[in-house]
């Protein structure tokens, strides 16, 4: 990374260029000079300068015009204009055009030193800000999406590929798989990351409310519309709109949405002024949109408009190898937020989680861990802390004998191999339970 600040001096007077050149060289800056605006623009096109010190009165293109052209080319350039003919009008014009400062020749040496020092400080703050922003985004991506399974690696690869583009994306997956997290990851790895990510939960809003939410409304558009309000599309200008539960929107809204996606223009509810907004759209659904298109409940043209890229997140039951990592992640998350010491999970409880089919996916697992930390003993998560109903039968192809063995084992684990309590839960007497333990060759892990 470049550490020395570079300065370009633009002045038609050689003595001024030389004086400034010597002054800045002695301060350790990288310095270059140009005798007129044309030469300066050519240098700026081929090389990046941190600070440009430009005279206003020059033959040919004047400093103000040159300043406008530089700003159009590189909006981050710090330009200080200087002139021998002080006039409030030119100073105001230069500052309006985005000049960093304005100085009248000849300068007091101290003023010049302070001016450059302030500009250098601004550059250093800007660089620091950029680095911190990048760091934040990276942290968000690394920490929030947890998973090492082939399925999740494929999803993350797709996120990586699609993020830099501007294409629409549909994220599909069962409820609770983390579709919004994937949308955030796409946004925060895209060139739009410094602009807003605006989320709309379409399923939670009625048709009228959704229209007002997306497009905004003018004062008096409907009862209760006391003030003008910006819509989500307008708020997302430069960024991304995430429409969750897209399958729930009405046919009328589908037509409106298609029109906006095609023109990127819309009007607020009750207004007639066309508003332009540049946003990327990411949708999510747990429904089969293709089937909805086939049965006529979702517009085909909108479907193809949205479905440029499709990312499907596998359900948790298809990536059980991610469960231990997710459990560790949620334990850390909730212990930290509850200001508790980190706890562990015992093997029986973890095994039970790995066997469970998680209809509510990662969200269900997260809730389970949170609850277990709250109700648990503060040292480890035990089987009895998990609110999983015995469901060995649900997805099983086991024989009756196998099912009985598993059911008894789980009950014993749940009650820490307390025979009386386990027998009571199984609604059999203790002798029968002993016999069953013997028959199935079950043994307590503590022995």
């Amino acid at each position: 990374m470049k550490t020395t600040i570079s300065i370009l001096i633009v002045d038609d007077e050689e003595s001024v260029r030389d004086s400034l050149y010597n002054w800045f060289i002695e301060d350790g800056y990288e310095v270059d000079c140009a005798a007129n605006a044309k030469e300066a623009l050519a240098k700026i096109e081929s090389e990046k300068f941190d600070i440009i010190l430009a005279d206003i009165k020059m033959p040919g293109m004047d400093g103000l015009e040159m300043h406008r052209r530089i700003k159009a080319f590189d909006s981050s350039a710090i330009i200080i204009v200087m002139t021998a003919f002080a006039s409030v009008e030119t100073a105001v014009q230069a500052l309006k055009d985005g000049a960093f400062d304005y100085i009248t020749k000849p300068f007091d040496p101290d003023d010049l030193t302070h001016l450059i020092r302030n500009a250098a400080r601004q550059i250093s703050l800007r660089n620091e800000n950029e680095t911190l922003k990048n760091k934040l985004v990276t942290l968000e991506n690394i920490e929030d999406i947890v998973g090492n399974s082939d399925g999740m690696i494929r999803v993350l690869k797709e996120v990586e590929n699609v993020a830099p583009a501007h294409s629409s994306v549909i994220i599909t997956g069962e409820s609770g798989t983390g579709k919004e997290l994937i949308a955030r990851a796409i946004h925060s790895n895209s060139p739009r990351k410094f602009f807003p990510l605006v989320t709309v939960h379409c399923g939670a809003l009625s048709e009228d409310l959704l229209e007002s939410e997306l497009f905004g409304h003018e004062k008096g558009a409907f009862t209760g519309a006391m003030f003008n309000r910006k819509g989500r599309f307008e708020m997302a200008d430069g960024g991304t709109v995430f429409l969750d539960e897209i399958a729930t929107i009405s046919m009328k809204m589908q037509i409106e949405l298609l029109r906006v996606l095609e023109s990127k223009m819309f009007t607020r509810v009750g207004g007639n002024k066309e508003i332009k907004s540049d946003f990327r759209i990411i949708c999510a659904t747990n429904k089969d949109l293709k089937r909805m298109v086939a049965d006529g409940s979702f517009r085909e043209d909108l479907y193809y408009r949205l479905n440029v890229v499709n990312i499907n997140i596998p359900p948790l039951r298809d990536r059980k190898e991610d469960i231990p990592m997710l459990v560790t992640y949620f334990i850390k998350k909730y212990c930290t937020s509850m200001s508790r010491d980190l706890i562990t999970i015992d093997q029986a409880a973890l095994r039970r989680l790995e066997e469970y089919h998680f209809p509510g996916n990662v969200r269900e697992l997260e809730n389970m861990i949170e609850r277990a930390i709250v109700v648990g003993n503060g040292k480890e998560i035990r089987l009895k802390d998990l609110p999983i109903e015995t469901d060995v039968v649900t997805d099983s192809n086991d024989s009756l004998n196998e099912l009985e063995k598993k059911y008894i084992q789980k009950t014993l684990e749940k009650y820490d191999w307390n025979i009386s309590r386990s027998a009571k839960a199984l609604q059999i007497d203790r002798v029968t339970l002993y016999n069953k333990i013997k028959k199935h060759q079950l043994s307590s892990p503590r022995k």
Partner: protein, 184 residues
């Protein structure tokens, strides 16, 4: 032709003891013999009537053209007020990594600021300015160590804050520069 050390080219009236002391201190600072010669040229053509100051760029050119050829480094010591086109005044200036510099005692006098004259303080300030400018001629840039002589100063108070010697880093760079000159 072998260069013969550092030359102080003196314009105007300086006390002999002042110049002798300056020569000794410069020799101590840079380790090269120092000689003192008077500036025999008329500097009136370099006076800017509008600014009532002398053009430092042109004085630097004069010293360089007329006195620098036989010396390793040459510095003109002036009594007059100096300016460069872009700045309202300067205490001195030098060719960065070059052979010539100039310095003026004019704005270092307490009397310029409504205070009682102090010859000892004036000498201290001028010694720092001369060493600072010669430092630039030896290739040193400004330093942010508060006491280092290469710290930039735009007011006399800034000059009073620093010492007349180099910080460790600047000294190491000066030594490297001096070694390179001796080796060449």
């Amino acid at each position: 032709m072998e260069k013969k050390g550092i030359t102080l080219v003196v314009q105007g009236r300086f006390e002999k003891t002042f110049l002798d002391q300056m020569a000794r201190d410069i020799e101590t600072a840079f380790g090269w013999p120092v000689s003192v010669v008077p500036l025999t040229h008329d500097i009136l053509p370099f006076f800017d009537a509008a600014r009532k100051q002398y053009d430092a760029n042109r004085l630097l050119q004069l010293v360089h053209a007329e006195y620098a050829a036989e010396s390793l480094k040459t510095i003109g010591l002036f009594q007059v007020d100096l300016f460069i086109p872009i700045l309202t005044y300067i205490f001195g200036q030098a060719q960065y990594n070059g052979s010539t510099g100039i310095a003026s005692v004019y704005r270092l006098r307490n009397e310029q600021y409504g205070m009682a004259g102090n010859e000892r303080l004036l000498y201290e300030r001028f010694r720092k300015v001369v060493i600072h400018e010669l430092g630039h001629a030896f290739g040193l840039i400004h330093c942010h160590v508060p006491i280092c002589v290469m710290r930039p100063g735009t007011y006399v108070e800034d000059i009073d804050q620093k010492k007349h010697f180099f910080c460790n880093k600047c000294y190491a760079e000066l030594e490297a520069s001096l070694k390179a000159i001796q080796g060449s």
